[in-house]
């Protein structure tokens, strides 16, 4: 039977992907950067994000600073973006395309859930993100590298899961923790010292915040807790209860205590 619906909406076996729908309408095109342009390093870059697994779930945190070279371009961007009830994506790299990718990813996952009436599995979401990173490869080759970090609570397994990506679309699952971005190395080293199997939610949050503090201490691009403007890293936990953002007042309290204990001289 011929369908009454516009062609883009019609076929019964069409893909449940929003990206395909977007492409079919012609609104979607990847910007192609024809050659390495000199201004690319002046584009805002998002810096340190990390994820830490604990016994019942996973915590994801990121600092709030975006940097243009040696300058601060924004002090309060959000790099950890909730995708749905049980997962978040955190972005590092060229801020513009990264935020765009996270936004598209969020709609993609939501679109699937609404059309099909069930949520994608955690593996399914992670694979979808890998495809999106791969599609952005031409941009990555030109210097606009986007490397997301994906974490979610796997309802089937009853555990938190962490996935990291490379610019070519490679997807790797991490057992315990991972950190990305310019301060990622320092954060990862801190987590290496702090992390233990069977962490509680609070312990994992504290480890994540400490690791961000260490990253901000060593890396110019990463912002630390800003007591003057009251801007603090964003922290999300994902477990059976869903995705919960930690209130900034709690983050502030943790950092006040940390700074007090770190002071050498009274």
């Amino acid at each position: 039977m011929k369908n009454h619906l516009p062609a883009a909406f019609a076929a019964p076996f069409e893909s449940p992907s929003f990206l395909d729908c977007l492409k079919a309408t012609g609104y979607f095109d990847q910007p192609s950067v024809s050659s390495v342009s000199p201004g690319l390093d002046r584009i805002p870059h998002a810096t340190t994000v990390l994820a830490v697994r604990y016994a019942q779930g996973v915590v994801m945190a990121g600092d709030r600073q975006a940097s243009e070279g040696y300058q601060v371009s924004s002090r309060a961007i959000s790099k950890v973006i909730p995708v749905d009830r049980y997962s978040c994506v955190a972005i590092a790299g060229a801020a513009g395309p990264a935020i765009d990718m996270a936004r598209l990813f969020r709609v993609e996952i939501e679109h699937y859930e609404k059309l099909e009436g069930v949520m994608l599995t955690t593996d399914g979401k992670a694979n979808k993100l890998a495809q999106m990173v791969r599609e952005a490869l031409p941009m990555a080759m030109q210097g606009l590298v986007v490397v997301p970090l994906f974490a979610g609570y796997d309802l089937g397994r009853g555990a938190g899961r962490i996935y990291k990506y490379d610019p070519a679309g490679g997807r790797y699952e991490e057992e315990a923790y991972h950190a990305n971005g310019s301060g990622g190395l320092f954060a990862k080293n801190a987590l290496k010292m702090l992390w233990k199997e069977g962490f509680s939610r609070t312990q994992a949050i504290e480890a994540a915040l400490r690791a961000l503090y260490e990253a901000a201490d060593e890396d110019l691009g990463t912002g630390g807790p800003d007591f003057v403007r009251e801007i603090y890293p964003s922290v999300f936990t994902m477990d059976r209860e869903g995705t919960i953002e930690l209130p900034p007042t709690e983050v502030a309290r943790y950092y006040r205590n940390l700074v007090d204990t770190l002071k050498r001289k009274e």
């Binding site: 009454h4 929003f18 729908c21 609104y27 936004r103 598209l104 939501e110 009436g117």
Partner: protein, 230 residues
Amino acid sequence: MAALPFYVSPEQLMQDKAEYAKKGISRGRSVVVLVVREGILLAADNPSATLYKISEVYDRVAFAGVGKYSEFENLRKAGIRHADLKGFMYSREDVTGRSLANAYSQLLGSAFSQEMKPLEVEIVLADLGTDGRADEIYRISYDGSIFDEPLLTAVGGRAEQLGALLRERVKSPPPLSEGLRIVRGAFQEISESPLPAEQMEVGLLDRSATGRTFRRFSRQELSEIVDIPG
């Protein structure tokens, strides 16, 4: 193509189509959409636990369809695509029930006048109000005619009786649990048979939620509300 062997007047043609569509719709079960204090309640008499009649469309918009499943399922998907595209290209706040209802009305209207077989569906779009904007409920008929219903609407088999009964009993938004019990009672009275909680499909656009406000009640949650008198 050979020429039509008989002349059929346009009036007759439309009437026949309307009758055909009405017959199809009246064979099915019903859906009720009702404003309650906690939000907008969507309840269906639906024995299937997986073939839904009620669905989330967007943050504050929900869909309900009755009639031929394949047809309203297609419409539901089209609506979700339309909403997601719009929300992605502009902003999430720009997706409104009104514009979706208009699109559905156009679609059903042109299908009714141009195609041999009209769509045997009736659909409802509920849009949860925000920031002083009132709740909106739109009912769209098989021929594309669109109705703005202030408090409640019923569609599907014996929808008129069901709607009349409910309008008699509900004058202002009741609390959720009470609303649910009233709707269930009305379903039972109209069909003259008991309706166990497991046979109801219920969703709510939740006023207290932020972001995606639609939630679906599990059969267990439902029987806890409906079967325990309170």
